[in-house]
């Protein structure tokens, strides 16, 4: 009888086994190789990936994209291969694969490194560059947000929200952002027993969700945090990092680090999941910058999602609000920050609120930063099951703690004729506190 040898021997060397030769030396992708090597191709990420489930091609899955990243490094494909660019572009960056991955592949970092590398070969589409250009410039951004607010104050967005296409969707986003939950104003009092905190105002949050930012300050105060203002802060840089413009992201990060260093609060509260995830990863973003790395790590260590702070402090229960609410977990909260229970604790502090579980609440809604403006078709396809699941709950409010998700889901609800509304959990808690104040004064 013949003796079998291990047959892979005859099979090797495959390109993967051809040694450390690298086609893209010195690029961010080459630096990310250890993360790529952590993938053993088990496929456990497939069913977690919204683009794989929607587009049904493994090129649109984490495992597939990692294979393409590896192929880029091996030189089997080149950075200007249009197919590769499309598959990388189509990733939402939701990072649901990270919470499914037993091997701990840092997929979000790999994606950013890949996009940064592909950018060197060919620039992203004009609309993406335009948006990122504006977000990197505070004055322009303020102007844009001011213009958006003016527009939002008119009936135009609502009227236009049913128009088909991206313009209509954009208007629906604006319309859904412009009217947060109505509530009576109150002045929050607290004893500051849980420490001091700064609040990241953010660009979209301060621009379009101003009331939510004020509500954030009020509920933090009421829950025993002393809120300090931090001048000089700006955009967190998340949109730039996700798009692979790491230099712009680093610039914005350094500016924020400087600003928050000047105000040495114990915490930095963030009410936008995407921004919180970015700030928690400043240390990684600036890992190759010796002058800034430690400073970045110190800032990252102070960052908390607002729900984390509230949950740690209780939160203090509010006045009764008999509402049917469902909760959709923002990807950058549940997957990137791994914050799952605190937002539910925030909602549980509202007496009378009925929380209805949302099927697949951990799945992406298709917002993904500026993705919904650049990849509208895929974004719509990812949003569709989310809207169905929301409709099945019969809830009148969908709570979610990220401006992109608020507008994406809000716009989807508006355009589908649903009467349900998207709302930040903090707004619900704030309204509940306002009700309490009204009740006592009455």
């Amino acid at each position: 009888m013949s003796v079998a040898t291990f047959s892979v021997e005859e099979d090797s060397p495959t390109p993967a086994d051809a040694g450390p030769a690298c086609a893209l030396q010195g690029t961010p992708l080459a630096a990310a190789l250890p993360g790529i090597n952590a993938c053993v191709h088990c496929g456990f990420c497939l069913q977690a990936c919204p683009t794989y489930l929607t587009l049904e091609d493994e090129n649109e899955s984490p495992r597939g994209r990692i294979f393409l990243m590896r192929s880029l490094l091996e030189g089997t494909v080149t950075p200007n291969d249009s197919a590769v660019r499309t598959h990388i572009d189509r990733c939402l960056g939701c990072r649901a694969c990270e919470t499914a991955c037993p091997s701990g592949v840092p997929y979000g970092q790999l994606l950013e490194a890949t996009r940064a590398t592909l950018r060197e070969a060919e620039l992203p589409p004009l609309i993406a560059r335009l948006i990122l250009f504006v977000f990197a410039r505070p004055t322009l951004l303020k102007l844009a947000m001011f213009g958006s607010r003016l527009l939002a104050a008119t009936p135009i967005p609502t009227i236009m929200s049913r128009v088909t296409g991206r313009a209509g969707f954009g208007m629906a986003m604006l319309a859904s952002a412009s009217a947060p939950l109505e509530r009576d104003m109150y002045v929050a009092h607290g004893n500051g027993e849980h420490g001091t905190t700064a609040v990241l105002l953010g660009c979209v949050m301060e621009g379009l969700f101003t009331e939510t930012n004020r509500a954030t300050e009020r509920v933090l105060t009421k829950n025993g945090y002393e809120v300090c203002s931090v001048p000089g802060q700006g955009c967190c840089g998340a949109l730039h990092a996700h798009a692979g413009d790491l230099e712009a992201a680093r610039k914005l990060a350094r500016k924020n680090i400087e600003a928050f260093e000047k105000s040495p609060t114990e915490f930095i509260a963030v009410n936008a999941a995407g921004c919180g995830a970015m700030m928690k990863e400043y240390a990684h973003l600036l890992q190759d910058d010796p002058a800034w790395h430690d400073r970045a790590a110190a800032i990252s260590a102070r960052v908390r999602d607002v729900s984390e702070l509230l949950a740690a402090a209780g939160p203090v229960p509010g006045g009764r609000m008999p509402l049917k609410v469902t909760y959709d977990a923002p990807c950058h909260l549940i997957h990137a920050q791994r914050v799952t229970l605190p937002p539910l604790a925030v909602l549980a502090a509202i007496p009378g609120l009925e929380l209805i579980p949302l099927r697949d609440s951990e799945n992406c809604c298709g917002s993904a930063g500026i993705y919904n403006l650049i990849e509208p078709e895929t974004s719509d396809a990812v949003l569709a099951p989310k809207l169905e699941n929301i409709a099945d709950t019969g809830a009148s409010f969908v709570a979610t703690g990220n401006p992109g998700c608020l507008m994406q889901i809000g716009a989807g609800l508006l355009r589908s004729g649903s009467r349900a509304r998207a709302v930040h959990p903090v707004d619900l808690l704030d309204a509940s506190y306002a009700m309490q104040v009204t009740a006592t004064t009455d």
Binding site: S2, V3, F67
Partner: protein, 486 residues
């Protein structure tokens, strides 16, 4: 037919988005769950419905084109690799067609993911019993191809025991029903032949699966040992006691460490040499008695502690660690090989000791995580294929481990299938006559060997095939079959 003409024909059937022709689009389909192997498909086609699947298979038949059916590409034997033939992806056929609650059965398409079938039937108090560790990703079609097992197959049986009938399209385009959806099978059990045929007999279009009522009660236990030997002997002792646990799983120290460093950390004791994850199910009174008996066997067999999961969350955590262990090994090294040998349970201690000596001799790390109750070993070796010396040592070790298992009276695969990876070992356990009989069985379904060519049985084993000039030339460039026998 030229590739272009074939692609055009397939595009007419499934649409342009679901026919991949460009090399860069096909790259990710060069590998399945065992990325040490890469094979380039000629093109890939993903039908979205039963009708499209039938039309695609018939178009391939009309042009005499060979193809490889593929589910989710989670297989661990290279079984779904297409070497210059068409890759037929069935992952889009993912509908649960019907659930017959009263008769405990469901009809599903082949691309339905194992876990999503379970999620669908769970609200009815039902489950689909075979639970391979890749359940979160693998498809029912792939489970049928490999006759997949899983931890709970110890008590409930493997895929074959849970498939009532299969409507399949044969490679020549004929549609047949194998088994009887109503229950009794008349004549030969061709369903039994199809399950485990590794994609060589055709493509399932729909599958009638058996559903099982959720047990009334469960007890999940974790016994930890300071000696691998003790854990192995306790495994035999539990089975010998007459109790049939729902599952009885073994993990050794390197496996425990890697799982504990992952997002699926389950609270396994970091200093244990081995743990046994044991589950019993049945009635409330019965499981308590079994739990006590098993605890007694474990403790008297040398277990330090036996911890019982107190609630569903704890149970899930204990299981998630076990089920994600394979994926977690990416933390140790970029490449991974795994074997799937089955040995008599009573030889566990002896074979594990032999494996440990082989590992030490070749300076490789073996992580043992396996279905101990079935004697189904899974020695995993994480390694860096970029290091030729290490790769050579790993390959030597795997060969020796496999021989040790065969010497102990075992077989070469329990549930992963032969595929490409174990084709070199098949002649260790089958005579030329047996292999030729397998070829003849295959030819009943696929006379031209067009479905998943070059897998399971080495082509040179098919005597009639060998007699033809085409067969001889196949033998010459049959690199795997030839190369693996020295």
């Amino acid at each position: 037919m030229s590739d272009t003409a074939l692609a055009e024909k397939l595009v007419e059937i499934v649409g342009a988005r679901f026919v991949l022709e460009r090399e860069s689009d096909l790259l990710v389909y060069n590998s399945d769950g065992l990325p040490g192997y890469r094979r380039k498909p000629r093109l890939a086609v993903f039908p979205g419905s039963r009708e499209e699947t039938v039309a695609v298979v018939r178009a391939l038949a009309a042009s005499g084109t060979s193809f490889v059916p593929r589910g989710a590409g989670t297989g661990l034997s290279g079984g779904a690799l297409a070497d210059d033939v068409v890759l037929l992806g069935l992952h889009r056929l993912k509908r649960v067609l019907s659930i017959d609650h009263e008769n405990l059965r469901a009809v599903v398409e082949p691309g339905v993911v194992n876990l999503s079938l379970n999620r669908t039937v769970a609200p009815l108090g039902l489950l689909y019993a075979p639970d391979p560790s890749s359940e979160a990703a693998c498809t029912i079609g792939g489970n049928i191809a490999e006759n997949a097992g899983g931890p709970h197959c110890l008590k409930y049986g493997v895929t074959l025991n849970h498939v009532i009938a299969i409507t399949a399209i044969l490679p020549d385009g004929e549609i047949v029903v194998l088994g009887n959806p109503e229950g009794e099978i008349d004549g030969y059990d061709l369903r039994g032949a199809f399950v485990g045929s590794e994609g060589c007999f055709g493509v399932a279009l729909d599958v009638t699966v058996r559903l099982t009522r959720k047990p009334a009660a469960l007890r999940t236990m974790l016994a930890d040992f300071v000696s691998v030997d003790d854990a192995a002997r306790v495994t035999s002792a539990i089975i010998a006691s007459g109790i049939v646990p729902a599952a009885l799983e073994f993990m050794d120290s390197p496996t425990i460490k890697v799982v504990e460093s992952s997002v699926y950390a389950a609270g396994y004791p970091a200093d244990a040499a081995a743990v046994l994850l044991i589950e019993v199910d049945g009635t409330e009174a019965g499981v308590n008695a079994d739990r006590d008996a098993i605890r007694e066997i474990c403790i008297s067999g040398g277990a330090r502690t036996v911890k019982v999961a107190q609630n569903d969350a704890e149970r899930t955590r204990l299981w998630q660690g076990r089920k994600k262990a394979f994926g977690a090994m990416g933390r140790m090294a970029p490449h991974l090989v795994v074997q799937d040998a089955v040995i008599p349970r009573t030889k566990l201690a002896e074979v594990l000791a032999r494996i440990s000596r082989i590992a030490a001799e070749h300076r490789v790390t073996v992580c043992n995580v396996f279905h101990a109750g079935d004697g189904n070993l899974h020695p995993n070796i994480p390694y860096n294929a970029d290091d030729p010396d290490e790769a050579a040592r790993v390959h030597l070790s795997m060969g020796e481990i496999m021989r040790a298992c065969v010497d102990a009276g075992g077989s070469i695969t329990g549930e992963h299938g032969v595929g490409l990876d174990k084709i070199g070992y098949i002649e260790l356990i089958f005579s030329p006559e047996s292999l030729n009989a397998m070829c003849k069985l295959r030819e009943v379904f696929d006379p031209d060997h067009r479905s998943n060519p070059g897998k399971v049985v080495p082509i040179h084993s098919c005597q009639e095939w060998r007699a033809t000039p085409a067969g001889r030339s196949s033998e010459e460039h049959g690199e795997l079959a030839g190369a693996a026998s020295t």
